[in-house]
C-alpha cells in the first residue's frame, strides 16, 4: 500500500514587545539576563494580582493575522488552560481557545512543484512559560526554574494538515519565519527559541481523504530539528504500518543529540486542560478602525515581493529569493535600480548577491554599515554598462569603495583605470605578447587552442587590466586566426 504523510504545524512565536503580555516586566534576552531578574507578582502568579493585556501585543498579532489573510474576530476571548508544570507559576496558562483572535487564513509557499496554499486554521494570543533547566545528578535529580520568560507575549499559529512533503514543510517553516521578521513581530533568532514548532504527523493511503492516527512532536526549535524529527516519525509510522501494526496517538519530544523522538506525556492526561473563560480579563474587542490602521501599515509581503522582483526586474527566482531574504537588501537593490536607470536590474542583482554579499561575509559588516550607498553602487555599474571600465576593474574599484568610502568616479579618475578601447593600442599589445611568447604560440598553432585564454591574460596584464575585454578578445582571435592561415 502507498502511504503519504499528512503534516500540520503549530508555530509559537514570541512577539517583539518591550514589556510582557499581562504586566510591565521587561522582555529580556533569556540567554543573557540573570535568572528571575524580570519577574513581578503578576507573572509569578501571586494571589490577588490581575493581568492587563498589552496593546502592542494585540497589534503585532493583528499584523500577522492580516498578513495571513485571516478572518479576524471582532470579539475574542481569553481562556485558562490548566495544567501543572513548574514553568507555569499560576497553574494555568492564559491562552485563547473557543474564540481565538483570528481564523481561516492562508500562506502561499513555493516549491519545485510550483505554488501551493497552506491553510491556517487559527491565530491566537497567549503567554510564554518560564524556562526549566533539568539537572541530573548522581544522588538526586531536580529542575531549576527561571521565570524571566513567563508571561512574554506568544502568538500561536495553527495550520490545517495541508503539508505532505518535507520540502513543503521546509518551505512553509522558512516562509513563516521570514513573514514574521518582515512584519517586525519577531526577531527570527531561532537559536534563542523565539520561534518553536510542533508537528502533527500522520500517514494515510494515497488518495484517501481519511486521516490516520496522528502523533504530536514537541520541542522543535530549529528547522533542522523540525525536518529531522518529522522525517524520523514518518519512517517509524511507515514501518509500523507495513508490519501491520496500528499507530498510537501520543505526544513525543525530540532529542537533538540522539536524533530520536521520545514519549513525553502520558496519553490519558494529554489534552485534558479543563479550559474555561479567563474571568480576570474582559473580552478583547478589535474595532474596524484599528484593523484598518494596522492593515495600512503592513509592508509588501514576501510572496508578493518575490513575484514582483521576477516580473518587474526580470530576475530569476533564486536571485529574487536571495534579495528578499533580507528586506534591507531588497530595498538596497531597488534603490540602486532607481539610481542607475541605464543598468540592467539583473546585473545589479548579481553584483549585490556576488560582490556585495562576499564583502558582508568577509568584513562582518551589516548592510546598514557599509560605506557604499545604492547611488554609489549605481554610479559604478553605470561606468561598466557604458564601457568606461571593464568588469575586473570594476571589482577592484568596488572593493576600494567599500574599504575607503570614496566614489567610483574619484577612484577611476585618480588611478587612471578608465578602460582603453583604442583599437590600435590594443592591436599593438596583442602583437607584442604573441611575439614575446613563441613557445606558447607554437603550441597554440599545433592545436592547443585553450592557450587563447592564457594569451588573453598576458595582454590584459600588459594593459594594466584596463583594455576593453571584448575588443581585446576579438583582436586576439583575429591575429591568431591570420597566423593559423599563414602557417597552414
Amino acid at each position: 500500500m502507498q502511504y503519504e504523510p499528512v503534516i500540520g504545524l503549530e508555530i509559537h512565536a514570541e512577539l517583539l514587545t518591550r514589556s510582557k503580555m499581562f504586566c510591565g516586566c521587561p522582555v529580556v534576552d533569556f540567554t543573557q539576563a540573570p535568572p528571575n531578574s524580570a519577574v513581578c507578582p503578576v507573572c509569578a502568579g501571586m494571589p490577588g494580582t490581575l493581568p492587563v493585556v498589552n496593546r502592542q501585543a494585540v497589534e503585532l498579532a493583528l499584523r500577522v493575522a492580516l498578513a495571513l489573510q485571516c478572518q479576524i474576530a471582532p470579539v475574542s476571548l481569553f481562556a485558562r488552560k490548566n495544567y501543572f508544570y513548574p514553568d507555569l507559576p499560576k497553574g494555568y496558562q492564559i491562552s485563547q481557545y473557543e474564540y481565538p483572535l483570528a481564523q481561516h487564513g492562508k500562506l502561499p509557499i513555493q516549491t519545485a512543484d510550483g505554488e501551493r496554499l497552506i491553510r491556517i486554521r487559527r491565530v491566537h494570543l497567549e503567554e510564554d512559560t518560564g524556562k526549566l533547566t533539568h539537572v541530573i545528578g548522581e544522588k538526586e535529580s531536580y529542575s531549576l526554574v527561571d521565570l524571566n520568560r513567563a508571561g512574554v507575549p506568544l502568538l500561536e499559529i495553527v495550520t490545517e494538515p495541508d503539508i505532505h512533503t518535507l520540502e513543503e514543510l521546509r518551505a512553509f517553516a522558512e516562509g513563516m519565519r521570514h513573514l514574521l521578521r518582515v512584519l517586525g513581530v519577531n526577531s527570527g533568532d531561532m537559536e534563542k527559541g523565539v520561534i518553536r514548532f510542533e508537528a502533527n504527523v500522520s500517514l494515510r493511503t494515497v488518495g484517501s481523504a481519511e486521516l490516520g492516527t496522528r502523533v504530536e512532536i514537541k520541542n522543535l526549535n530549529s528547522f533542522r530539528a523540525l525536518i529531522r524529527a518529522t522525517a524520523y516519525q514518518i519512517e517509524q509510522q511507515m514501518a509500523a504500518l507495513q508490519r501491520g501494526e496500528t499507530i498510537e496517538q501520543e505526544t513525543l519530544g525530540w532529542d537533538d543529540t540522539s536524533e530520536m523522538t521520545f514519549s513525553q506525556r502520558s496519553k490519558e492526561e494529554a489534552h485534558d486542560y479543563r479550559y474555561f473563560p479567563e474571568p480576570d480579563l474582559p473580552p478583547l474587542v478589535v474595532e474596524h478602525a484599528w484593523l484598518e490602521r494596522v492593515a495600512a501599515s503592513l509592508p509588501e509581503l514576501p510572496f508578493a515581493r518575490l513575484k514582483r522582483f521576477q516580473t518587474q526586474y526580470g530576475l530569476s527566482a533564486e536571485d529574487a529569493a536571495l534579495l528578499i531574504a533580507e528586506y534591507l537588501i531588497a530595498d538596497y537593490f531597488e534603490e540602486t535600480v532607481q539610481a542607475a536607470p541605464g543598468v540592467a536590474p539583473r546585473m545589479i542583482a548579481s553584483w549585490i548577491t556576488g560582490e556585495l554579499f562576499a564583502w558582508l561575509n568577509q568584513s562582518g559588516e551589516r548592510l546598514e554599515e557599509i560605506k557604499v550607498s545604492p547611488a554609489g553602487l549605481g554610479e559604478l555599474l553605470r561606468l561598466v554598462a557604458q564601457d568606461e571600465i571593464n568588469l575586473n576593474t570594476a571589482k577592484t574599484v568596488l572593493s576600494e569603495m567599500l574599504r575607503t568610502g570614496r566614489t567610483a568616479g574619484q577612484i577611476v579618475a585618480e588611478r587612471g583605470l578608465k578602460q582603453i578601447s583604442d583599437a590600435d593600442q590594443i592591436a599593438r599589445w596583442v602583437a607584442r605578447v604573441l611575439a614575446e611568447n613563441p613557445q606558447e604560440l607554437k603550441s597554440y598553432l599545433s592545436g592547443k587552442e585553450t592557450l587563447i585564454n592564457w594569451f588573453f591574460g598576458q595582454v590584459m596584464r600588459l594593459a594594466g587590466g584596463r583594455a576593453d575585454p571584448q575588443q581585446l578578445r576579438q583582436e586576439l582571435e583575429k591575429q591568431l586566426q591570420s597566423m593559423k592561415s599563414n602557417s597552414s
Binding site: 518591550r18 510591565g24 528571575n36 513581578c40 498589552n54 531549576l144 490519558e268
Partner: protein
C-alpha cells in the same frame, strides 16, 4: 438524572489537580461533584443553539495597557517564597523523564 461519577473519574480529576485524597474523601467528592454535575445538567435541557455564550457581563470595551516597562521585583524578593533555590532559580523536584 445523570449517572454518578465513577471512582476512576474522581481519581483522574484529583490527579490532574495534583491532589491526594483519602478513600473517604474520594467517596464524598464523588457524591458532591455528581450533584453539581446533575444541577448543571438541568441547563442542558434548554436550547441555546442560537444564543452566543455570555462570556462577560461587562460592556464590550477593551481594557488594554500601553507597552511600557515597569520595574520588576528584586530577584531575592521573587525567590522569597521558594522552598529551595539554587543559582537564583527555584529548585523543584524533577519534572521530566529524560531519555
Amino acid at each position: 438524572m445523570t449517572p454518578m461519577l465513577t471512582l476512576q473519574e474522581v481519581e483522574h480529576i484529583a490527579r490532574l489537580a495534583r491532589l491526594t485524597l483519602t478513600d473517604e474523601e474520594k467517596e464524598r467528592f464523588r457524591r458532591q461533584l455528581s450533584e453539581i454535575l446533575e444541577y448543571a445538567a438541568r441547563l442542558q435541557a434548554l436550547d441555546t443553539g442560537d444564543i452566543l455564550p455570555t462570556f462577560s457581563v461587562l460592556p464590550p470595551q477593551n481594557v488594554l495597557r500601553a507597552d511600557e516597562i515597569q520595574r520588576s521585583l528584586d530577584t531575592e524578593d521573587i525567590l522569597r517564597n521558594a522552598a529551595k533555590t539554587e543559582k537564583h532559580q527555584f529548585r523543584v523536584p524533577p519534572v521530566l523523564d529524560i531519555p
